[in-house]
Symmetry: C2
Subunit: 701 residues, 2 copies
Amino acid sequence: MTDAAVRPTTPATSTRTPAGGAPTAAHTAEEAHEPRIDVAAVTDLLLGTWADTRRTAREMIKDPAFWRIEGQPMPDHRERVLSQLQLLVDNDGSRRAFPEEYGGLNDNGANLAGFMELVLADPSLQIKSGVQWGLFGSAIYQLGTTQHHEAWLRDVIDLTLPGAFAMTETGHGSDVAAIGTTATYDPDTEEFVIHTPFRGAWKDYLGNAALHGKAATVFAHLITGGVDYGVHCFFVPLRDDEGNFLPGVGGEDDGVKGGLNGIDNGRLHFDHVRVPRFNLLNRYGDVAADGTYSSDIASPGRRFFTMLGALVQGRVSLDGAATTGTALAEYIAITYANQRRQFDSGSGTDEVVLLDYGKHQRRLLPRLAQTYAQFFANDELLRTFDGVFSGRTDTPTERENLETLAAALKPLSTWNALETIQECREACGGAGFLAENRLVGLRQDLDVYVTFEGDNNVLLQLVGKRLLADYAKQFKGADAAKLARFAVSETAGKLFHGAGLRQFGQAVTDLGSTARSVELGLRADQQHELLADRVQRMIGDLAAALRPSSKLSQDDAALLFNAHQAELIEAARAHGELLQWEAFTDGLEKITDDGTRQVLTWLRDLFGMYLIEKHLAWYLINGRLSTQRAASVSRYIDRLCVRLRPHAQDLVDAFGFEPEHVRAPIASGAELARQDEARAHYAALADSGEAPATEKSLKKK
Amino acid sequence: MTDAAVRPTTPATSTRTPAGGAPTAAHTAEEAHEPRIDVAAVTDLLLGTWADTRRTAREMIKDPAFWRIEGQPMPDHRERVLSQLQLLVDNDGSRRAFPEEYGGLNDNGANLAGFMELVLADPSLQIKSGVQWGLFGSAIYQLGTTQHHEAWLRDVIDLTLPGAFAMTETGHGSDVAAIGTTATYDPDTEEFVIHTPFRGAWKDYLGNAALHGKAATVFAHLITGGVDYGVHCFFVPLRDDEGNFLPGVGGEDDGVKGGLNGIDNGRLHFDHVRVPRFNLLNRYGDVAADGTYSSDIASPGRRFFTMLGALVQGRVSLDGAATTGTALAEYIAITYANQRRQFDSGSGTDEVVLLDYGKHQRRLLPRLAQTYAQFFANDELLRTFDGVFSGRTDTPTERENLETLAAALKPLSTWNALETIQECREACGGAGFLAENRLVGLRQDLDVYVTFEGDNNVLLQLVGKRLLADYAKQFKGADAAKLARFAVSETAGKLFHGAGLRQFGQAVTDLGSTARSVELGLRADQQHELLADRVQRMIGDLAAALRPSSKLSQDDAALLFNAHQAELIEAARAHGELLQWEAFTDGLEKITDDGTRQVLTWLRDLFGMYLIEKHLAWYLINGRLSTQRAASVSRYIDRLCVRLRPHAQDLVDAFGFEPEHVRAPIASGAELARQDEARAHYAALADSGEAPATEKSLKKK
């Protein structure tokens, strides 16, 4: 049954079989002397450190029970996704992150790697799982202590206890510190009173809140003894076994959304709801029976950020899922573009395959390079995450690096997902607009990734502030000699060594095989210098522009900052792009096969050039590129597109998707079959001698 | 009932009432000395030539029966939209374009102006109406002759005869000449045999095809006497009165789409279906009883393009609807941004209104300027259309101008719709993702506008070819003196005088009040020179690059062209931007009020700068801007944003939408009420003396 629905109807899904060695299509025959990539090896490379877990997850979701049904009405979709969560439990898919004593595997990297793949089945499944285990469960685990783990984790893991993560309010999203919900301690009863004092303080947009959540981890200002100790997290039961709200609890359904309609997002409000003192998740702050507050972290600000930092995994996971979703869209659009023909070349012969058009290459191939970079960058992010969360590298610096990395990468990959999936949809024309071909659904579901788990612009602003702080640190009490040493420090070893500001001339350990790009003075080390220098210079300029702040009133300083806000965000974006480029370059080092190395080096160059072209005006204004070299950037991109075009199918085949993951009729070989049928029809007609004459030929007579 | 659901719950929808004179919000009080726009006068200006018809249409769709119900399942949505079409008939909304003898009004411009507004009710309604009256009905009217009008137009107008427009095939979209469906004349029975010989020749993506269409205007190669006379249009009955397909006709439902799910798109196939000779829509080509073909247009190519050109109104209409839809999104996002607060400025006072953030202004205001330009440009396009279709200016040159204008403007406005609506959705955060706030639904519905009625890239390529042809014409047999004269020709009069290539130094009749921009050397005439010069130079460069074509084989010429395809499309886009800028500048001339003129001149300058910034690298590489002037462009945009910020609400209020058109809770005043409630809560708490102390203040003690 499964196979009949999604497996290709023709022998191969593409003109080349994924394993290579099969007959090449017409447009690649003449280039047979070119290097070829080892598709299977590239798949290993892209799946990265936790390739095995990813493969297990992909194998599991071949079961159609996990697939999104396009156009399914919201109520049915919500029930289906809930049942998929149970299926995930049954398949051992929910326990990887949790401690062994509760049936977990304590394997944080693998956990996220596995969850990310769920985007291929249904993004609603990925995000609802994220709500249950990555947010609700994680809050109990990361912010609670053993007593809380004992009380709830088992039920969380096996979905006996579905829950909501109640942080965001209607009135406050990104500014968590300003939420209005309060948890006031009552020493007489040893209870916290949870209260949402006005409409803007209602918890909002929460998955599992509209229907399925039996409890919630509620963020609220902890008030005891007349003092507000800032935002803490509380375990609050929501519904009884019949699904009715408990006394004092109320809510609303958020209704239909732009996507992710398999998730029951909703609002919650609390009218002086009492929970036992026990329900304070007290890892970072506690209240004694008499109401005395205590915390290991003295600074309220640092305590707050430590609590939020424990929840960074959402961003790590979105970065990976956005990348996988983008790759799927590219697989679909490029496979179609390799089969679909439109317009003959003017000489009356076969119509031209879409991907042979210059514009079509320009639309799709630089974005493919971007996606490759994201795979490499996400694996680095995942390893940083795993190091910190396993405790192996859990230092304040590494935690800060992790948070900065996640805040830099998640915006870029999620925005790119929307733009690239849209480009893929347009590149498939009307067929791309049909839900069955999945591009529109993917885009709808991924839309909210750019504003949730941290609004992209707010995240980039955080990164920008970190970069400014790094910049200031460089010069703190430094003499000239120290500055000089600093400028040449970190010249060896791992490139993607952290998230902080890069230096001029920072060494790149491997520059790939760059013979062809040398001609243009745009070799890998020059790409790196251009990208790194831009971040450095932008931050330097901003630091100079903001220097007067220290002498201004807080209001005037805020005004000055505001005037440069857009630039700061732009600088942070440049930094994220640099990190992605470095990760890609680093990834090239792991390749042993010459052909693969050559092709992926071209792809990395295309990524570098694509970034430089995007910011070409900046490079010109700041004297980093002459007009002549700048003009050559676009031409070089054109040439790289032509060079990579014969490898396009291999490069998307290397994502390793199987038909059960793709499920788009236009990428199933059906288009190739239609094209072949049409051409056979006209050939037979010509042979029969019954083809009508053209009017033109008639006039010639 | 209606009012309760959509009318604001607070006295005004915004901090200023549309009519002006009401209290200004805090952020505008200190700027009270600034010029203000006359909101009502600007509404008149934007609604343009057919303002009355637009107002009638907007009044009609205040009836909730016309409104899209978010999340409605596809089958119900389809039935609802069909019933809305009938409602449109009952409201005299379907007959404006048709001749008086069939109950029509013969008013082409008004017709399109009225239809465009339907996008505010439900884009599915706009497009399904377009299918019925703009495509199916129009094909009968424009491609048929009196006998066909007599036979079918009345039933088309009153919806007794719902129909599909069967041009596109699964295998061919933009390349209509290559469709596979044939209509072979059989002189024995005086019938045409309609046939789709292979799967790729099935008609596809057709509105009204899956369910409601009783007939279709089918495009097919007309074959008679063994000769293929090219694509013609035939009236083909599809279904009987019970809705069953007639013998030989078959089809499939296209199913769920990325949007526009109120329309029953589907596929049709024909197995030797016979229709009477009468059914050939024979205005441009006829077949006599004995099978003899005749046409007033000898050239098969010109005949083909004449037939297609008769259907240009779809593009004109999409340009306008995309603009109105974008304006609605901007109204919602800017109104919300004027009420929503997030993060305090650091001094512990009120949180900051979103639109006071530099980045937020940068995200929304240049796009607002773009939308204003589109309103002006669309009115010019509509007037050109009306001139040609009324017969007043129906010359080959004007027809060509009309087609080029439509092909240049529709891609820009439809792409801008998607980008701007998305920016608006992100600017509203999670609230923007809720269907009730309309942004996601608008974007989903408008998505396909960029690839239907002519794929945007294909349309721009057509424009590019026209510009190349114009360029070549300039130099045809011209001596130096003639060239010199040419360079200074057309120096007065109407700016937006046609669609063809602009000249250096072409005069601008009105440059607005530009005192403030003079300082930067970026006055209106300089903006115009930069924009016009860029088109001229790009086309000149392309002409030079393509010059060798004439000496190459057809295949090699195609290869050469392909290598420059992306640049040609880029040049056409630049041309479209120039046309929009000119239309905006032209529009300023109609303003009599000084304040309005001043503010809209700033807005026009913002649009010009926004375009120049987008292409800054080009201006630098081509020596059109020094690095110093280039650097000042972005700073100037920042300053214009600050200057326009106090006028943002006025500028979106001037779109003239009423609550029944907006229907987005976040733009209803609810957010302002929530903000007021929250601030009142904290003020009361402070007054009560029971507000908790902060931890910080505690430590100070």
